[in-house]
């Protein structure tokens, strides 16, 4: 046995290892990149979900932008006000009040019984929207219910229940992932600033006659809600009532008036109190109220015919 060769081998390897170790240690000093300590601190308080709701590439991207002062401290939708306050403390500024936002699916799934054909394919809305006709639903605007949003949600906050996507208000962080993925563009972020949140869960731009053919209670564009809104917060956009949340005070009059019982207040369709609201207008400006009151009646019987 020639031990010389063993010794040389060990020495060479140890020497190379030590040399590389020294070089790397030296290089770590020479090439050290100064990371803003604020950036690391900001990154520390972020949730780390990398949801992209802030508009930056992940939490580290947002932290870098905040540290440079290029991004507001309260842009993290997932973290909410608690995180905004922490970041504000690190950056030495005030966070300001954040308006809580939630994703809202603008479809009640009322068109599910009106299918144009049976869709047999990839269980995915984006794929279904690519086939001719854009999926099984007759309504060209409704929720396809194949759960692309469910898969996209990083917080497990949106689920397809009975064929239509529903948002879990407790879990939703308003990151906007579902808004982006929905091929029908029926999900939107809505501010929840008033105590009573009024929403119009329909996206149909069809005219009333066409809308009736493909769903049970979708918006028919009758504009009763818009006419009755005391704050003029509802406008008709291409046969669809749209709420301006800057003006909405959550009174719920529109929900009372809606002939399709579509508009919801805090997620529920309010029970129409026939006595009080109808008696008041009938008593005073009878002439003005009468045609309005007739409108829903005229539309209601039309339904069974179709």
């Amino acid at each position: 046995m020639n031990f010389q060769i063993v010794i040389i081998a060990v020495v060479i390897l140890a020497a190379l290892g030590a040399l590389f170790g020294l070089v790397l240690g030296f290089a770590a000093k020479v090439f050290a990149v100064e990371v803003d300590p604020k950036e690391e601190a900001v990154l520390g308080c972020l949730p780390g979900a990398n949801c992209g709701g802030c508009g930056f590439a992940g939490c580290s991207g947002y932290a870098a932008a905040v540290a440079k002062g290029a991004a507001p401290v309260n842009a993290c939708a997932a973290g909410g006000e608690a995180v905004a306050a922490q970041i504000a403390e690190i950056m030495g500024v005030s966070a300001g009040a954040m308006v809580k936002q939630l994703a809202q699916v603008h479809c009640t799934g009322c068109g599910q019984n009106y299918k144009q054909y049976e869709y047999v394919g990839l269980h995915d809305c984006v794929a279904a929207s690519k086939v001719p006709g854009g999926g099984a639903l007759s309504c060209a605007y409704g929720c396809l219910g194949l759960g692309s949003c469910e898969k996209a949600c990083p917080f497990d906050a949106i689920h397809v229940i009975d064929g239509v996507a529903k948002v879990d208000e407790e879990k939703c962080k308003a990151c906007g992932k579902c808004v982006d993925i929905c091929p029908r563009h029926i999900i939107a972020l809505e501010p929840y600033k008033t105590k009573r949140h009024v929403t119009i869960p329909c996206s149909s731009h069809d005219k009333g006659v066409d809308a009736r053919k493909v769903c049970d209670n979708g918006c028919i564009g009758c504009s009763l809600c818009a006419k009755n809104c005391p704050k003029e917060a509802i406008t008709m956009v291409n046969n669809l009532a749209v709420i301006d949340y800057e003006k909405c005070i959550g009174c719920g009059i529109c929900a009372q008036k809606c002939p399709r019982k579509l508009i919801t207040v805090d997620g529920k369709v309010p029970e129409v109190k026939p006595a009080a609201p109808k008696a008041a207008p009938a008593a005073a400006p009878a002439a003005a109220a009468a045609p309005k009151a007739e409108a829903p009646k005229a539309e209601a019987p039309a339904e069974p015919k179709e």
Binding site: N2, I5, I8, A9, L16, A27
Partner: protein
């Protein structure tokens, strides 16, 4: 041998097509399967591998030549340390990748961002070790080694980009339940490898 362009071309062609690291030598399969879900990331990995393979070839050649297979420096009748090649090269590659990462982070942040997480992943890429070991086994000189390293990396890039583009379509195509995911991906890789066999026997001279 000197600066023989025809020979270099032959080596390059061989590394890219005939002896493709993925499809005919089956080296570097782990990153090949792992980072081939999107063409963008596949191309990023390919560039990073090419970069490291070329540099590793350049660094390992003198170490091998002057320290390992040069008994004269250990005195009269010194040992030939060729048996140490594998372990020394692993050490060199690991240190090199670390060094490159630090260097890029400081001096070329844009390239560092572009290579991203792929750079540290290369430490464990056996294609890099394969290229330096083959350099010594084939007795390449310095320039040929570097050319073999870079073109080997290009071959890796070609393979991973081709495979990623197939795999992007594979996601949306129907296949039997039992084959979904990795099984069908491995079969596809096998079929592409089979098609690359068509290059075997390709010779410049």
């Amino acid at each position: 041998m000197g600066f023989d362009l025809a020979n270099l071309f032959s080596v390059a062609l061989g590394a890219i097509l005939v002896n493709n690291f993925i499809f005919s030598q089956f080296l570097g399969i782990c990153p090949f399967m792992g980072v081939s879900k999107k063409i963008d990331t596949a191309a990023g990995m390919g560039i990073a591998v090419t970069f490291v393979m070329g540099l590793a070839s350049a660094i390992c050649w003198p170490i091998n030549q002057f320290l390992l297979v040069n008994p004269a420096i250990y005195g009269e009748g010194g040992p030939n340390l060729a048996f140490m090649q594998t372990v020394v090269f692993i050490l060199v590659i690991a240190a090199l990748v670390q060094f490159i990462e630090m260097f890029l982070k400081k001096s070329m942040p844009s390239l560092y961002e572009a290579l991203g997480i792929y750079l540290p992943l290369i430490t464990t890429n056996c294609a890099v070790l394969g290229v330096v070991l083959q350099n010594t086994q084939n007795g390449y000189d310095f320039i040929t080694s570097v050319v073999y390293g870079i073109t080997g990396g290009l071959g890796f890039m070609l393979a991973i980009v081709i495979f990623a583009s197939i795999r992007e379509r594979l996601t949306f195509s129907e296949c039997p339940k039992a084959f979904e995911g990795f099984p069908i991906a491995l079969m596809t890789a096998g079929l592409v490898a089979l098609s690359f066999m068509g290059f075997s026997g390709l010779k410049v001279f």
